[in-house]
């Protein structure tokens, strides 16, 4: 899927659910990911949107960029509200008051709203088995409030609440592996995606919405504002994150792991870290240590996919 790039974009749907003119930063990877994802979802959907960048930029009263029915929720209850929407649609269908057989419920949230604050609501929704798709757009921090750390921030990254200095090297904990947590809920579909691989992302979202039952997609989306990189590097950094093994692309269907993309060899992690200000303070030893751990995790994942073939 990854290698098809020359003419395949022309075969994608022309539906645009997020109108231009919104207030996203220059080079935002997240808004690009939303645009791609909603090409796969189509017109028959209800969007439940957690607080975060994507809510702020697309819905400043009295305007909105959304061309779909859209609900704004708090950080913590996105999955709960989406469950309610799904249950409500089901009840209305049963009573004969709603005649669209195939309306999709899509919850979108950032990493803060998913891995930190919204985790218990998400866990509940996955466990109850609602027929919904939850997409987490992960930019590794609370970027819209001024770059605070979240539990999706990678080790060593400097943010305003995990500042690097004489006594600290920045974020001291490792990135929480939420796709793995979602897999452990035994749900039918979990995937990771990145807007640098648009066709792969669109296909995964298509699969996710077609799944009967809960589906979870974790999208790694670059943030030039929070990461301190040039605005033209979002796509390249996403690609490098995948090719260095920092964010491997895979999908898990009914517990079965499958790698979506296997680079021939992992690129050195400095390729990914060097253009970003948040990693600028790291010494070579720390980078070596991070590289070792990233490779370990990557091969562990690869093993899981290989042994289940």
């Amino acid at each position: 899927m990854i290698g098809q790039s020359v003419y395949v974009p022309r075969l994608l749907s022309e539906i645009e659910s997020l109108a231009p003119g919104h207030r996203a930063c220059i080079g935002c990877g997240e808004v690009l990911a939303i645009r791609q994802a909603f090409k796969a979802i189509g017109r028959d959907a209800v969007v439940v949107n957690a607080t975060g960048c994507m809510e702020i930029i697309a819905s400043q009263l009295p305007y909105t960029s959304w061309r779909l029915p859209w609900i704004h929720t708090l950080f913590e209850n996105t999955a709960a509200v989406a469950s309610g929407v799904e249950a409500g649609l089901k009840a209305m269908k049963r009573k004969g008051r709603y005649d669209h057989p195939d309306t999709k419920v899509v919850a979108i949230a950032g990493d803060g709203g998913t891995v930190d604050i919204g985790l218990q609501a998400l866990s509940g929704a996955l466990e109850r088995g609602h027929n919904l798709l939850y997409i987490c757009f992960d930019n590794e921090g609370y970027m819209n409030t001024g770059v605070q750390r979240s539990s999706a921030t990678p080790y060593g990254a400097t943010t305003t609440t995990s500042p690097a200095g004489k006594q600290s090297i920045g974020q001291l904990s490792w990135k929480k592996d939420l796709p793995a947590i979602a897999v452990d809920h035994r749900i039918p579909y979990v995937a990771t995606a990145c807007p640098s691989f648009p066709i792969d992302l669109v296909e995964k979202v298509k699969k996710g919405v077609a799944t009967k039952g809960p589906a979870y997609i974790h999208v790694f989306s670059g943030c030039p504002t929070g990461w301190g990189c040039a605005t033209n590097l979002t796509i390249k950094l996403g690609r490098l994150a995948v090719e260095t093994g920092v964010f491997p692309l895979y999908e898990v269907e009914n517990g079965k792991y499958k790698m979506s993309y296997k680079p021939e060899t992992l690129r050195p992690i400095t390729d990914y870290m060097k253009p970003q200000r948040r990693f600028r303070h790291l010494t070579e030893d720390v980078i070596k240590m991070i590289e070792k751990r990233v490779a370990e995790e990557y091969y562990k994942l690869l093993e899981k996919a290989e042994c289940q073939k």
Binding site: M1, G3, Q4, V6, Y7, V8, R10, L11, S13, E14, R43, D44, H100, P101, D102, T103, I199, K236, R239, L240, E243, P263, E264, T265, R267, D271
Partner: protein, 241 residues
């Protein structure tokens, strides 16, 4: 603009649009296998059959080819429509007994088993011609086409032999609704498997990092099309400045 009725709902659509397009814009589901917005409608799969009423006359038409008209009454779920779709699905199921996409679609339409005898257990091509149409209309290469007639009809490169026309772009692989065409990148070769034959394409190596990033033929095609010199294509996307 014309006004028509689909399943009892009053709908306005631009004249010149097809019934299928009008229905999709209004979230009315009609199953299809051979439709893509990027290529002209073709009417191969016949799953999109609907019943149209004009005056006193009712008839079944393929909605992907039938244009909207003022006062048209369309039904997508009548008994006749459901029956004909199930019949088409049974025939497709007999043609592709092990294709998961066809099986899923059949199940959605209420068909579990085909009453026809399957001939080839491994076949998953439904001959919708999306691949050949995309190759001609979008890529502009016409590298693959439908050959032979009747039961021998299949998708193939000319004489099932290596072809200069194919640039190994993979558009046919992506667009295939039943995954009948497979593609795999194995280090320095890309292998594309059509229902008739499999072919290997050499991949270009990045001059800096040594990874294989695109088929050589595709790069030659891009070079000719863009008019840029060869040095611009020496590096992979990550190593380019």
């Amino acid at each position: 603009m014309v006004t028509l009725k689909i399943d009892g709902r009053e709908i306005t659509a631009d004249s010149g649009k097809t019934v299928l397009e009008a229905a999709r814009e209004n979230n009315i589901y009609i199953p299809t296998l051979c439709v893509n917005e990027a290529v002209a409608a073709y009417g191969a799969c016949r799953l999109c059959m609907v019943e149209v009423t004009r005056g006193n006359r009712k008839r079944l038409v393929a909605s992907c080819l039938y244009e909207v008209a003022e006062g048209l009454v369309v039904d997508t779920q009548t008994e006749r429509v459901v029956n004909i779709r199930r019949m088409v699905m049974e025939l497709l199921l007999a043609r592709c007994p092990n294709s998961s996409e066809v099986i899923d679609m059949a199940r959605n339409l209420g068909v579990d088993k085909s009453r026809f005898q399957p001939e080839n257990q491994d076949n998953s091509c439904v001959l919708c011609a999306l691949c050949t149409r995309v190759c001609r209309e979008v890529v502009g290469k016409s590298a693959i086409s439908l050959v032979s007639r009747g039961t021998d009809r299949q998708v193939a490169l000319p004489f099932c032999d290596d072809s200069d026309a194919c640039i190994a772009c993979g558009s046919c692989v992506y667009v295939c609704p039943t995954n009948a065409i497979k593609m795999e990148d194995r280090g320095d070769v890309r292998i594309i498997t059509w229902p008739s034959s499999a072919h290997e394409f050499k991949m270009k190596k990045c001059a800096s990092c040594g990874s294989h990033f695109a088929p050589e033929k595709q790069i030659a095609f891009m070079m000719a099309k863009s008019g840029l010199e060869a040095e611009k294509f020496e590096l992979c996307m990550n190593c380019r400045p």
